[in-house]
Point group: C2
Chain length 229, copies 2
């Protein structure tokens, strides 16, 4: 049984569940993987906590991990990139293995773009400050390209609009930031915030072909884990 | 905390979670409602069990209800219409209140179509045999219109295609059955199977304006319950 630590945000959790189903070879319900999702959006904000301006979400996330473990979860997927800032503490204190979203996204990036290329990272400022994407990219020989700070602000506005249910408004901002990163020389884009694939789902095919969706990559890794492959 | 008994099927569960988020007035994660979703698709098939040709899903569903209760759920929403055949047993043996999807859909139907009208019911043969929609419609002065058996077979094929991830294939079948019901004189359509809104999401606006989505209605009822309104 897979446990999904979600609610950060709730629409991203629904998107993750849909991508788990889409990643599963199935002709009937029973072919799909068993999972339990803890979607409690009252977890304190992750980005301010990382940037030193808010309470830690770790205790609330640990409550979620323990509830999932008590309900039978044998591994956890976290449907939020920024939350992976607390990955080590969650594994250590939660007592259950956690599939790392950046490992899954890196694997997918390697399938798409040969080493030496430049990867644009679309993520929260908390995820960027945490550095777990850049470290993995560096190890595989990729250079990381980040949006300039004005664009990073637009991206945060887009993420907030998804959390408020305004996908169309979010799309305008996210597409523009993504296109700017490609024009600045990115060979591929890692969409490393679980709100952003919702905003970018309607982007044109050329843009979408350059995107590595970390949510979809974690979904594929979760299905592979569940099916033992 | 809301518990979601899901996995029947998994994509319908993801759709329900997305509709809960969409039904919530929110500008940030913390405004959304806390929930935990048990999505274990290994529950035995509901329709054959109702039609006398398969094992009962009740024990597996009770396992889910009890797991949700143990994890803190104070009320349950079941993201599957057919599963409501076992509603009374689930409430009695599960020991936690359950929001009935047909109550939610009826409320929405009443907002849309005055009494005396004919409501077309798009549902599994198990749900139709269970009769809980027809009983509610009758009580409110609606006549129920059902698809002819050839169309009911097409609808089941469409539902199965959603479970297999083929939304485009499902859409062709579901839209055709829905349009036939309208042509046969239905004033409104209750979409009473949680797979079908996924198949009908791309239908034209005229058709969608006549549809009452039971999944969305249950999501709205769940949000109202959670917010105490």
């Amino acid at each position: 049984m897979l446990g999904v630590l979600g609610g950060m945000g709730p629409l991203a959790t629904a998107d993750f569940l849909a991508k788990v189903a889409a990643a599963t070879p199935a002709t009937r319900d029973q072919d799909h993987i068993p999972l339990i999702a803890w979607s409690v959006p009252q977890v304190p904000e992750r980005v301010p906590a990382i940037l030193g301006d808010g309470p830690s979400p770790l205790p609330a996330m640990l409550t979620g991990v323990r509830a999932l473990r008590a309900a039978g979860a044998e591994a956890i997927a976290i449907a939020c990139n920024t939350a992976h800032y607390w990955y080590d503490e969650l594994v250590e204190q939660g007592g259950v293995p956690i599939l790392h979203i950046a490992d899954a996204a890196l694997l997918e990036a390697c399938r798409r773009a040969p080493g030496g290329r430049r990867i644009g990272l679309l993520a929260t400022s908390g995820t960027i400050a945490a550095g777990f994407y850049q470290a993995r990219f560096r190890k595989e020989g990729y250079a990381t390209l980040l949006p300039p700070s004005s664009n990073q602000d637009l991206l945060h506005q887009g993420i907030q609009l998804v959390k408020a249910g305004d996908i169309a408004g979010a799309a305008v901002l996210a597409v523009s930031v993504a296109q700017n990163l490609l024009e600045a020389g990115a060979d591929a884009l890692v969409v490393g915030c679980t709100e952003l694939p919702l905003a970018l789902a309607g982007a044109d095919a050329v843009l979408r072909a350059r995107m590595v969706d970390a949510t979809a990559a974690l979904a594929a890794a979760s299905v592979a884990w569940s099916r033992g492959i």
